[in-house]
């Protein structure tokens, strides 16, 4: 800044300052505070209109001043949120009328597993039945004829329930074997107590010819291994 400019600036700003000092001297400073205080609204200024930030702060004041209450309220909120999450989770849970809800895939797998176990159980019992027939046909003292007939009828009854499962789940090999065994049990269930040895021999021949015991073992292993 040039000397003339600086001089001008200093002179002008000093003139304004002198003007301000003159104005300051002209005011009655003793009387002014009372005059301003008289214009202030009566009562505590806190009762006046608060800005919106102050309103929010005042609304949260109880929480700030009472940490126990704030903690309790926070716990209630978290607990409610956790309960809501658990009750709304899509897992198996008891519903109305005690029914269980599960996915379709889970139900299909469960049904297949039950069919396998039923088929294995049926084949094991059939195996025992055939072994008893083989022993009796060989001249050994087997189970009483009446018991054998009763077991045969029981197995025929089970086969009726097993048919539907085997067909629906396309267990074709197990179904074919069970059908062949069923034919034998049908013969056995119709025989009298005084079953002749040669008739037992024919049934044994039928079973051996078709290798029923071997087939039963193979199919059982397949079913147990889940193939």
């Amino acid at each position: 800044m040039k000397h003339d400019e600086l001089d001008f600036f200093l002179r002008e700003t000093e003139a304004v300052r002198a003007e301000i000092r003159a104005a300051v001297d002209s005011v009655d400073w003793e009387a002014l505070p009372a005059k301003i205080a008289a214009r202030a609204p009566a009562g505590s200024p806190e009762t006046g209109r608060a800005p919106w930030t102050a309103k929010i702060r005042d609304g949260l004041a109880p929480l700030r001043m009472r940490p126990v209450l704030a903690g309790l309220l926070g716990g209630l909120v978290i607990g409610a949120a956790a309960a809501s999450f658990v009750l709304r989770a899509p897992v198996r849970r008891p519903g109305a009328g005690g029914r269980y809800y599960a996915s379709g895939e889970f139900l299909d797998r469960a049904e297949l597993e039950m069919a396998r176990r039923s088929a294995v159980d049926y084949l094991e019992k059939s195996q025992h039945m055939l072994l008893d027939v083989f022993e009796s046909a060989g001249g050994d003292a087997g189970v009483p004829a009446s018991l054998r007939v009763e077991r045969a009828r029981d197995l025929l009854q089970k086969k009726k329930y097993l048919n539907a499962q085997l067909e629906r789940l396309q267990m074709a090999k197990a179904k074919a074997l069970c059908d062949q065994i069923e034919a034998l049990f049908l013969e056995l269930s119709q025989l009298d107590d005084g079953l002749a040895a040669d008739e037992l021999g024919k049934i044994r021949g039928y079973a051996e010819e078709r290798q029923l015991l071997l087939k039963i073992n193979l199919v059982k292993k397949e079913l147990q291994s889940g193939v």
Binding site: V24, S26, A37, R39, A40, E46
Partner: protein, 196 residues
Amino acid sequence: MSERQARSESEAAETAALLDRIQRGDREAFMTIIRRYQQKVFVMAYSILRDREDALDAVQETFLRLYQKASLYRPGRPFQGWLLQIAKNVSIDSYRKRRRTKLGHETSRPIEEIPVAVEDRAGDSAASDLRSAFSRSVETLAERQRMVFVMRHYSELPFNEISETMRISIGTAKSLHFKAVQNLRKRLAPVLGMQP
């Protein structure tokens, strides 16, 4: 701790106590605060408004706002800076209203009735023209530049108090002051060039 710092902290504690009493409606505490700061507020208002009555109105309005907003003051912040910030805002509002009114009034008057110079008390036309040119140049500065210039040269505030009042950094205050002086030089150059 230095004596100056200790005195400053003592004043801050005393001011905080007064503000606490004001919040409870204590008029005596309110008047104590007014007595302590009224002249500083007046100087700030007059620097901006350049009119005694307008400045006095601004002083009253500033302290009434303080009375209503005493609860918003945050302890630890310089109280004078906070109060002068209120005074600055009140004065700027008043300045804008007065300017609009003045413009409207002058445009409705015949051109021969509008004074050529804003002030003409000395009777010396050359000096009066220069003073008028200087005042008008200050008024035409950008608002933040004008505020820093006025606070620095008319209110005689140091830069740290200017930064507190305007809520800007000291560096920004100095930068605005430099720009204000540069702009004044440009605007006054033709007038100064006519000086003998």
